[in-house]
Symmetry: none
């Protein structure tokens, strides 16, 4: 794979606009007794026209056989080899709620849980308390006094929260406290390397104090912590390619991921059509747009084939509005496959459609996994897509004389 | 990619003959409103027959999205990963005018430029002086006395020249002197690593002397230097595979590139038919033949679709003469794409045709970019082609027991 340093040396400015339209979990599977995936079953006349004019391909977001989480899947799409560049869950959640993560921070994902009088876990998710309850409790956690360490605690949805331990010498490399079962006590945090000793002590003191301040708050009378991680040192996409990049996403995590690579988050509404309206509104202000559609993935995880089909069709219906903006490059793909018959993220390669006026047209009759096997892009790694986008936007100079 | 060391360990002798017939810039694009690339529009009955009997594929000379210069494009074809093996601009220009570059040489590309009385640049290209003026001035530069360093200076086109600093301890790692703007003085050469200190001193003395000897030569009264580079330490293709290799090319740069990997240059005429005659004449003396056709690339750069089509047809008409020599392997491909509609080198993958009696035949109806998407070679990196050529020539033994 071309190094980011090499790409930075090749990047040169242009006036071109690029749109990366990500239908989360796009790749699918056929239902038993059927021959069509979700994408193949969907009526997508607009995407099909772009497939004929542009190029198709299949991408392995991480590598063949590897099922990507949302972080690695998107890092791949943004041009970073996910095997090399890794982002911890804690940091991912923190940036996902618009927290500014600094280099002194150690982030962790927390769950409120229920424990009995003996301290044994009775519910790992505290009965999925409403988000409002979570939001009432996190300030109690934030007030815990830990000498030399500032605490920033933010509610997520239901029983979930994120905590930043801000202080000196808080290194990553910590075990999680969730025993993954009820009837057991939360595990102590263990340092997985010597440098993480201080951080482990701090986290254990936090957990002990949390139990104290939450003692009257059943069912949310205890916490579990995992995904301890520091801010990753990633070169910024905006620096590598010299682009102004925006993220338009409903869900905080995807905004957070994009911000990690230098994109600017733009406020948008809840529907895909709202996201497209936002794109239209800010199209003049940026060069690169990452537009994220979440619900295709959710439908896949729910095993709802027909809803995923309908959501793909809804996205297709918005393509004319995208094209009316006259982007120089439009890519439609997923960050991974979430086949409804599989009900989860999967390792199956992801269909990719790249349209630009500089495509050698594939002439494909349809945007589908089947046609993607024969497309001009070939079968690539996710991280190989970004240089192609930049090339088609005429933003990379010749390599060597 | 298989390492060159591994390939060397696998190579074994055979009596087989291989021809690598490179149509420079072969890959193309469709014209607006049309559906055929240059290669697809060309009538190529001879290549089409080989496509049916042999294998097709697409190659990214460097990596997806990366537009190769001629150096990296050819290095890829010769089996060297261009991201790993790099040839500096200075060396490329030197071999391009048939200069013998030795290991004691530091090469640089020069431009004549114009400076005012204060030494500030008024024209970075000295008004693009005619080549004849350039050729009159380079001997003045060559006569500059630098103790312990021999100077070899050759004119290129217009204001361009190449200089070899021949002496001991001249290491690469020098900054360029072009400030990329007028109204500024040329920059001093800075060593980018400690070993390059002596070379920087030598280059700076050369530039100072150049200003003195050119003082009366306005507009070409100063020089700018860039692309300082040493002869690359490449394992020789001839050593890796144990072949006697010849280059048949009209243009010096391609002969030079081939000589860098150990090929022997054979004198030839100006036309492609002359090159084939040369091939016929020396076919008994070598095992591997790199035959280079330049004009397909020039037609692409000129945006002349029809001329590129005609040149491809001209090459096709010579295929029966190539096949009459009974090569064991014939490869027809390009070093990169130069689509006429794009008028420049581009990142688009390059069509590859490999014919040998050991092909599992593709049965393709035509040698075209479209058919190459479905070919038995698949979608490869340029440098992966050479092991396939050697394999089909029965020159690689089994890897492992």
């Amino acid at each position: 794979m071309v190094s980011l340093d090499d790409l930075k040396a090749l990047a040169h400015p242009a006036e071109t606009k690029m749109v990366l339209f990500v239908l989360d979990g796009l790749g699918g599977l056929t239902r038993k007794g059927d021959t069509k995936t979700e994408l193949e079953a969907a009526r997508t006349p607009n995407l099909d026209r772009l497939a004929a004019e542009g190029n198709l391909g299949l991408a392995d977001p991480v590598a063949p056989g590897i099922t990507p989480g949302s972080g690695p899947g998107h890092l791949g799409l943004f041009g970073y080899d996910p095997l090399r560049y890794r982002i911890g869950r804690g940091v991912l959640e923190a940036v996902g709620v618009d927290l500014e993560v600094t280099e002194r921070d150690l982030a962790a994902r927390g769950n409120f849980c229920s424990v009995d009088a003996q301290g044994l876990i009775t519910d790992r998710r505290a009965g999925r308390i409403p988000t409002e309850v979570c939001a009432r409790l996190t300030p109690l956690l934030e007030k815990i006094g830990l000498s030399g360490v500032e605490l920033i605690v933010r509610p997520l949805r239901e029983h979930r929260f994120v905590v930043l331990f801000r202080g000196d010498g808080l290194e990553e490399g910590l075990s999680e406290t969730d025993p993954q079962d009820t009837g057991k006590p939360p595990l102590p945090v263990r340092p997985e390397r010597p440098q993480a000793k201080r951080a482990a002590d701090v986290a254990n003191r936090f957990v002990a104090e949390a139990r104290r301040v939450l003692s009257a708050e059943h069912p949310a009378n205890m916490v579990l912590l995992r995904g301890f991680s520091k801010y990753p040192s990633l070169p910024k996409l905006t620096d590598i390619y010299g682009v102004r990049a925006a993220v338009i996403a409903v869900y905080p995590m995807y905004r957070g991921l994009a911000k990690l690579v230098g994109m600017q988050a733009v406020k948008t509404g809840d529907r895909v059509a709202d996201e497209v309206s936002t794109l239209e509104a800010v199209f003049g202000q940026f060069d690169f747009f990452f537009v994220h559609v979440k619900k295709t993935d959710s439908a896949g995880e729910d095993g709802n084939f027909d809803r995923k089909v309908a959501l793909i069709e809804e996205a297709d219906a918005l393509i004319p509005r995208l094209m009316a903006l006259k982007p120089d490059v439009l890519v439609v793909t997923g960050d991974h496959s979430t086949p409804a018959p599989f009900r989860a993220h999967s390792w199956h390669p992801v269909p990719v459609l790249l349209w630009s006026k500089w495509c050698r047209p594939d002439g494909a009759p349809k945007f589908s996994e089947r046609e993607c096997r024969f497309g001009g892009i070939g079968h690539i790694r996710g991280a190989e897509l970004m240089p192609m986008i930049m090339a088609h936007a005429e933003r990379l100079t010749k390599f060597g004389a």
